[in-house]
């Protein structure tokens, strides 16, 4: 082999490496392996489900990874995951791309999540309406005294744009408007809690499980869907009853209706046992 051809072969191998897709749904011997990918919000819930399921179904091996709802949906489109866990609806553009790849996204609601609005414990504001939240996150309101609070600037915190919660909040609270450019995008929920607990002007949104875990470090606000409506505190009861307005379903997406091991797993998640796990991990059961 001459020098130049071997160099060429090496470069070809390196270029080809990222192009070869990983086949999904591989059976290893008698065990079926199932991959679940997607929402970081749901990783804890899904892996708890997977552990419980594998205890009673030793023939199935489940691997759970996060990365975010978008990553999970992209993986479903590319066929590199069996189940995609998503904390937001699939977008039309994603559905179209799935169709181009000869796939269809089948949706199952497996749990519910409430989003709590948290502020610094010293803040005297205890209720905000959807409209006020929208004006805060689009920088129409930039000081707390515009919503009945102290005279200090508002420090609006959000998750990164890759988060399913970001898109959910944008769609339902900002009514599809863009976030103001001054909104700080935090890489993790823990960073939002950290900032809200130390910065007096901060406001942020986190899952209600996280807000309750944070305890006295943050103050959880009551939310009014309309100006004249009742102010509701987030809790399991108010999320399930629909009284608390900033709540969302959590989804599983599969390529077509689930079959085989995937169907057994989805059915398990929706069973009484599965829904008990939902409650234990800080989310709200679907029933």
């Amino acid at each position: 082999m001459t020098r130049s051809t071997s160099l060429m072969l090496l470069s070809c191998a390196l270029v080809a490496l990222p192009l070869t897709g990983r086949p999904s749904y591989a059976s290893t011997g008698s065990r079926t392996s199932l991959t679940i990918k997607g929402s970081d919000t749901m990783v804890h819930l899904v892996s708890t489900w997977a552990e419980a399921f594998m205890r009673t179904n030793p023939d199935v091996e489940i691997s759970v990874t996060g990365g975010g709802s978008g990553t999970g949906i992209a993986a479903l489109i590319n066929g590199t995951t069996d189940i995609c866990a998503a904390s937001r609806n699939i977008k039309d553009s994603e559905r179209a791309r799935a169709q181009q790849n000869g796939r269809s996204a089948f949706e199952t609601v497996v749990a519910r999540d409430g989003i709590a609005i948290v502020v610094h414990p010293s803040n005297n504001v205890s209720t905000l309406s959807h409209d006020q939240l929208k004006k805060i996150y689009t920088a129409v309101y930039t000081r707390w005294n515009q919503v009945g609070g102290p005279n200090r600037p508002v420090l609006a915190l959000s998750r990164e744009s890759s988060s399913g919660t970001y898109v959910f909040f944008q769609e339902h609270i900002l009514e599809q408007q863009d976030y103001a450019q001054s909104v700080r995008l935090m890489p993790a929920t823990s960073a939002i809690i950290q900032s809200v607990s130390t910065d007096r002007g901060a406001i942020g949104y986190v899952g209600i499980g996280y807000a309750h875990d944070a305890g006295q470090r943050v103050k959880v606000l009551r939310i009014k869907a309309t100006e004249s409506g009742p102010a509701v505190a987030p809790s399991e009861a108010t999320v399930r009853s629909g009284e608390y307005s900033i709540a969302r379903p959590l989804f599983f997406y599969t390529n077509g209706a689930p079959t085989g091991a995937a169907k057994r797993f989805v059915d398990f998640c929706l069973s009484a046992e599965g829904q008990r796990i939902v409650r234990e991990t800080g989310y709200v059961p679907v029933q």
Binding site: S6, L7, T71, S162, S182, L185, S195, D199
Partner: protein, 286 residues
């Protein structure tokens, strides 16, 4: 047989060149379709709104400004410490001191950036907030301080090499003419080593501009075009790290992120090339 060994060595030696070439190729291949749609002009804007129900916008000015601001602050912080530290290590410190100090400086270079970022979020940001009476410590200044900390080892060790390579005859001449130690250091040794120090600073800047994790945790990541140190900024690296994992494969957003990557790569490459040139052209020959 001999040819075989030779071949292996050639391949091993050229791996890094091939890799850089392939990375460029790969970046351009992924970024190229953006040129036709929506067009390179859409990168020239001051709004980076990649996830929107209205209109996705990929203006990179805020990201470039963010990277420049954080890098500038980090350089201002790191240069005095790095250069003065290097002067001390090479000219003043006793051998025993050098041997104690150097491992610690190297240790600082080895701390994973996510650990430094966590330190920044929990310790440095509240300190910056308290020291300047700010509403929050999540801003470009905190990011610059952290990155400055990370650049000090690079600047210090390369500067030290430069200072040590100044010929002894220069210093001897100065001392023989009656100059004291301080005069010799600042008027003779440092000026003679200046090209090396400049290169050290540039290599340090290269490290800073490419740093991701630490800066993502403390700058607040708001994509606004600003050069005020106490505002929140979003750097190019943080943008790629935060968004690449989630971006729909093959979308405009995906390709825009590759353009950000290309700009970043070109910037660091230029800094490195200039630094190498400066080192080569002006280095003192013994």
């Amino acid at each position: 047989m001999e040819r075989c060994v030779e071949l292996t060595l050639v391949v091993a030696a050229s791996t890094s060149i091939i890799l850089v070439g392939l990375i460029f190729l790969f970046l351009f291949r992924e970024a190229a379709p953006f040129v036709q749609h929506p067009g390179l002009s859409s990168l020239m804007g001051d709004r980076w709104i990649p996830v929107s129900f209205q209109k996705e916008q990929f203006g990179i000015y805020p990201l470039v400004a963010g990277s420049i601001l954080v890098t500038a602050i980090a350089t201002v912080v790191a240069v005095p410490f790095g250069v003065i530290g290097a002067v001390y290590l090479s000219e003043v410190a006793r051998p025993a001191e050098t041997e104690t100090l150097k491992p610690f400086i190297e240790l600082l270079a080895g701390i994973p950036s996510v650990v430094i970022g966590f330190f920044g979020l929990v310790v440095l940001a509240p300190l910056v907030k308290a020291a300047f009476g700010l509403e929050t410590g999540l801003n470009a200044f905190t990011g610059g301080l952290l990155l400055g900390l990370m650049a000090i080892p690079t600047i210090m060790s390369v500067s030290e090499d430069a200072l040590r390579s100044v010929p002894a005859s220069y210093k001897q001449a100065s001392l023989a003419l009656g100059g004291n130690q301080i005069q010799t250091i600042w008027r003779i040794t440092v000026p003679a080593a200046l090209p090396g120090i400049v290169a050290a600073v540039m290599l340090g800047m290269g490290r800073v501009i490419g740093e991701t994790m630490a800066v993502m945790m403390v700058t607040g990541n708001a994509a606004q075009t600003t050069f005020k140190p106490f505002e929140s900024v979003r750097t190019m690296t943080a943008t790629i790290a935060a968004e690449m994992g989630e971006v729909p494969f093959g979308s405009d957003h995906y390709r825009a992120l590759f353009w950000v990557g290309i700009i970043l790569l070109v910037a660091t490459l230029l800094l490195n090339i200039v630094a190498q040139r400066v080192l080569k052209r002006y280095s003192v020959r013994q």
